[in-house]
């Protein structure tokens, strides 16, 4: 394999990895920006997305239905959770959220195990996406390309949604000053429910998309939640662009680190985070913490 082809394939690999990480990170950062809460259950919802997607896919035989349906269902679940439980806690300390979402992570994790069993489930990509293409005469899985493309599309869509749509405007306003937005007549309770749902839905989207790559398993929640935290911290809590940069940085560090220095790959990510935080304690694009 020529060096150039190798680099290119790694580049696309890293890009697709970044896309998956981005789905997680952006939901987490949106939720944090708006509500100042760290959603511990984000990894569990990512996993829930993968399993719901699996069931929808096998039930309907249609991958695209699963891809659209799982985020929607998990998003609705997130909204319901915000509506019934989180809503009571906004006047309380930040650690109340930590504990409630930690509890939710346990509940969701266990519910998934009870419903779908402890075995990893294989999710097949649709025929269109399961082949390989040749990049510089080297075979390359189409699914990775599809992931990278989806990541770009979703990133642009969220950006446009936040910048152009009315709901996006209200989200930004509430994020900047919730009391003032409320005084101006914005129903911030509704906005919070929406954003929590959207964030959970994005995590689920990541889960559905990751399932054909890594199989849906009970262990997938524990590993990704920390990756998501790291991304959000590197980018700056609450910053949309920051989560994008963080996801790219970590995606590339993971893929290239795994290839060139597999012994240290696990440590690289944290070293990057340490370095960023020592220089800029609030994250790359965050406000000074």
């Amino acid at each position: 394999m020529s060096t150039l082809a190798l680099l290119l394939s790694q580049f696309v690999d890293a890009l697709s990895q970044s896309a998956l990480l981005f789905f997680l990170g952006v939901g987490l950062t949106l939720i944090f920006g708006l509500m100042r809460i760290v959603n511990f259950a984000h990894g569990a919802l990512y996993m829930l997305g993968a399993f719901v997607g699996y069931s929808l896919g096998t039930w309907s035989g249609n991958y695209w239905l699963a891809l659209a349906g799982a985020p929607l269902l998990v998003g609705l679940f997130g909204t319901a959770f915000e509506f019934s439980i989180l809503r009571r806690l906004y006047r309380r300390d930040a650690h109340a959220f930590l504990m409630v979402t930690f509890g939710l992570a346990l509940v969701v994790g266990e519910a998934v195990r009870l419903t779908w069993g402890s075995d990893a489930l294989k999710v097949a990509a649709p025929p269109v996406l399961s082949g390989v293409v040749f990049l510089l005469d080297e075979p390359f899985p189409v699914y990775r390309l599809f992931l990278a493309a989806t990541g770009i599309v979703v990133a642009v869509a969220i950006w446009q949604f936040l910048e152009r749509s009315r709901l996006g405007l209200l989200i930004r306003a509430t994020s900047q000053n919730a009391d003032m937005a409320n005084a101006l007549g914005v129903d911030i309770k509704l906005i919070r429910s929406c954003v929590f749902g959207i964030g959970c839905g994005l995590a689920a989207l990541g889960g559905v998309l990751a399932a054909p790559l890594v199989t849906a398993s009970n262990g997938m929640a524990a590993t990704v939640i920390i990756d998501a935290f790291v991304i959000v911290i590197i980018g700056g809590m609450g910053s949309f662009l920051g989560s994008l940069i963080g996801a790219l940085l970590i995606g590339f560090v993971q893929v290239f680190g795994n290839y060139y220095a597999p012994d240290f790959a696990l440590a690289f990510m944290y070293l990057v985070m340490l370095a960023v935080l020592v220089v800029r304690p609030g994250g790359l694009l965050g406000k000074e913490a």
């Binding site: 439980i85 346990l106 509940v107 440590a267 935080l277 304690p281 913490a289």
Partner: protein
């Protein structure tokens, strides 16, 4: 009624001291582990409850202490008692560096930096196989008997008393600390750091000091765990443990020292009882946490003291 409180203390102390006489061996194992975890949770309370420094990587202290103690016992032939305290001390010294870097940031970033350190140690424990045993961890850690007649400590009952002594000693040290002027500055940092700085205190030094002390005590707990379980593995450094100990502190009642010990015992008991009763214990566990946050924000200790006070006001109604 101060008498009632004192009576409860005396009964609890006697019960803990007499526990090995009446309890079956498996219950003693559980109790010893609860005592060790109690010390671990209490060490975090110094940071979390009194200084509002939310360590999200407290497993670093526990795991480091466990590995250090395990290594000392396996490779240097140091007696149990010395190895345990040396490991705690080493953890505290290591934590000066951790504290120095982590206190550059505040708030959530501080938590994430402590997490990063813990995960870094987790990664190292996997890769530095010659010292840590890699993914197998350190196994067959002995309870080496020392030269000064501490042989009793290596028995099951003796080890329980050692752990209990560490917990009580740790509690007395922590209580003395939080009641001292040093503790007052810590509470000042918790309530309003800017104001404390303005009063002329170098808050960063205080924060580094409390991180070192807290990690040192957490390391002591880990150092007790290694010879207790006979092994030290990467699980002890994993972030899940950091999350769990934070929950123990909050469920027990942060900022009370004794509350987190109760939280740890509650955690152990729940895990054990629920897993004996149903396979889906984590489900009920999670629901119990959520219920705690919603209905008992002050934690177990808060509930308990609340009841005591209620009894008090009923006994001497204010005129």
């Amino acid at each position: 009624m101060r008498g009632t409180t004192r009576l409860i203390w005396i009964v609890v102390a006697l019960a803990l001291l007499a526990a090995p006489l009446g309890l079956p061996p498996f219950a003693m194992t559980l109790l010893t582990e609860a005592v060790i975890l109690g010390l671990f949770a209490m060490s975090l309370d110094l940071m979390f409850g009194y200084t509002r420094l939310v360590s999200f990587g407290h497993a670093a202290a526990y795991g480091f202490g466990a590995y250090a103690c395990g290594w000392l016992l396996l490779h240097t032939g140091m007696p149990l008692l010395f190895a345990v305290f040396a490991a705690g001390l080493l953890t505290g010294v290591m934590a000066i560096g951790v504290g120095w870097i982590c206190t550059l940031a505040t708030g959530v970033s501080f938590s994430m930096l402590t997490l990063a350190f813990a995960q870094l140690l987790y990664a190292i424990s996997f890769k530095w196989t010659s010292v840590t045993g890699g993914s197998d961890g350190l196994a067959g850690i002995p309870r080496t008997i020392g030269p000064f007649g501490f042989a009793a400590l290596s028995s099951k009952t003796g080890f329980y008393y050692l752990a209990l002594a560490c917990l009580v000693g740790g509690f007395l040290v922590c209580r003395a600390l939080v009641r001292s002027p040093f503790g007052a500055v810590l509470r000042g940092i918790r309530e309003n750091e800017a104001k404390t700085t303005a009063l002329g205190y170098n808050t960063r030094l205080y924060k580094i000091a409390v991180v070192a002390i807290s990690y040192g005590l957490g390391g002591l707990a880990g150092a007790l765990y290694a010879p207790f379980a006979g092994f030290a593995n990467t699980e002890l450094l994993f972030w899940l443990l950091s999350g769990q100990v934070l929950i123990m502190v909050i469920v027990g009642g942060a900022g009370t020292l004794i509350g987190p010990v109760l939280g740890a015992a509650f955690f152990m008991l729940m895990e054990h009882q629920l897993s004996a009763w149903t396979e889906a214990w984590a489900l009920y566990f999670g629901l119990i946490f959520i219920a705690f946050v919603l209905f008992a924000p002050q934690g177990i200790w808060g509930l308990a003291t609340g009841w005591l006070q209620m009894g008090r006001s009923r006994a001497n109604p204010r005129l």
